[in-house]
């Protein structure tokens, strides 16, 4: 597999949200607006890239039987770093993402990539894989957040498109996340097959 394929598979072909259906908890939880989706996606991307990098670096030093706890510690370390940095420099975003930042630790994508890809491939490929998957995840979350924000609050990235009197509130509430996600999965699968 060449590097470009490793990178681009995260967007459509193996998109974590639309195709693999991994990491549903933050996907449904934080995407009430496009900016929240993007913020969450980029935070996860950072964790993915760094944990893939470190896991592929130390993979030969970690005995098989303790690899999962080791990976979890590595991931948790990067998540805590993200949390502290966000709290210090982007407090408003940190406030709106809140609980979901620490939950990146248990996001299946991060551990999944560490286990399925980084522990078997070279450092370079693992980096690219983490970046591709992370950006694919960000793309999915931003798209989902944008659709929900347009339908549910008449805005996109906080820019008003139409009056709040005509919005369908349902879409910023939890059921709206399921409905929009369902339709997006349909659309992306159509594109993938085409």
């Amino acid at each position: 597999m060449n590097q470009w394929k490793i990178f681009s598979k995260g967007f459509i072909k193996e998109n974590p949200v639309f195709i693999l259906l991994l990491g549903m908890c933050p996907t449904l939880g934080v995407t009430s607006s496009a900016i929240n989706g993007l913020g969450m996606g980029l935070a996860t991307t950072f964790v993915l890239v760094m944990s893939n990098l470190v896991v592929s670096l130390v993979k030969s030093q970690i005995p098989d039987k303790v690899r999962i706890p080791s990976f979890i510690v590595i991931i948790a370390t990067f998540v805590t770093i993200v949390q502290l940095v966000m709290q210090a420099y982007v407090p408003t975003l940190y406030k709106s993402l809140g609980l979901f930042i620490p939950l990146i630790v248990v996001n299946c994508i991060v551990l999944g990539r560490a286990e399925a890809f980084a522990s078997k491939n070279t450092v370079g490929s693992s980096l690219i894989d983490g970046l591709g998957m992370g950006l694919g995840f960000s793309f999915a979350l931003t798209l989902l957040g944008a659709v929900r924000e347009i339908l549910g609050s008449g805005k996109i990235f906080d820019i008003v498109i139409y009056s709040e009197d005509y919005v369908t509130l349902l879409f910023v509430l939890p059921p709206g996340a399921f409905i929009v996600l369902g339709y997006l999965i349909y659309v992306i699968n159509k594109i993938k097959k085409a």
């Binding site: 009430s32 130390v58 993979k59 030969s60 030093q61 970690i62 005995p63 098989d64 039987k65 303790v66 706890p69 080791s70 510690v73 590595i74 948790a76 370390t77 805590t80 770093i81 502290l84 940095v85 709290q87 210090a88 420099y89 407090p91 406030k95 549910g152 609050s153 919005v167 509130l169 910023v172 509430l173």
Partner: protein, 205 residues
């Protein structure tokens, strides 16, 4: 490179090294961000105080009052301009929100009326209860305004309960909680020492 065998010694060493490095790097990052986190918190607080009070020069003599023993206390920030008290910002809270805890910074001016508020923290329904951040300060709709009023001149209950404030459409519980937090702030404000006309400090008057 060959994979390490899963012997007891190897496992202990590997786990120890991983956790050691993790702990060291976390300590380092914590140290680096500690100051910035503090600054960000204080800045957010100061911004909220500025938003809810009339113009002032400085905030002095902050104090706290516990309304119910064992519960969170209210924080008071008296603000002065040219040595005269212009108002007190009060960080108040309620636990009666639709999704529990709501924290609000509110300001009471020298006349004893609410001069503004800012919702600091809440988990209310987006698009319904979350509207409280603008609903109660809409100058075009006096029936839902709390600014310029106080619980002694107007009854701080939603109209459904016989009060004088219109609740947020479809969010009566949030509205009740919001007014509860404001009433709590006002009551403790009344009980405190500092009165607008006899401000103890600073002495220059």
């Amino acid at each position: 490179m060959a994979k390490r065998e899963s012997t007891f010694k190897n496992m202990v060493v590997a786990l120890f090294m991983v956790t050691l490095i993790a702990a060291a790097s976390l300590g380092l990052v914590y140290d680096m961000t500690k100051e910035a986190i503090e600054t960000a918190k204080t800045e957010a607080k100061n911004k909220a105080i500025r938003n809810v009070l009339p113009e002032y020069d400085e905030v002095m003599g902050e104090y706290r009052i516990a309304t119910t023993p064992g519960d969170d206390s209210l924080e008071f920030y008296p603000a002065y301009k040219n040595g005269n008290l212009v108002g007190v910002a009060i960080k108040t809270y309620t636990k009666k929100g639709f999704s529990g805890y709501i924290s609000i910074m509110t300001g009471i001016d020298a006349e004893g009326n609410f001069s503004g508020y800012e919702v600091l923290e809440h988990a209310e329904t987006p698009g319904l209860g979350s509207k409280m951040d603008i609903w109660f300060s809409d100058a075009e709709k006096p029936n839902q305004m709390v600014i310029g009023k106080n619980p002694e001149t107007a009854r701080f209950d939603v109209s459904k309960d016989g009060g004088e404030i219109d609740a947020i459409t479809a969010s009566t519980i949030t509205s009740r909680a919001f007014l509860d937090a404001l009433k709590k702030a006002y009551e403790s404000y009344r009980e405190t020492e500092i009165k607008p006309d006899e401000s103890a400090r600073p002495a220059s008057k």
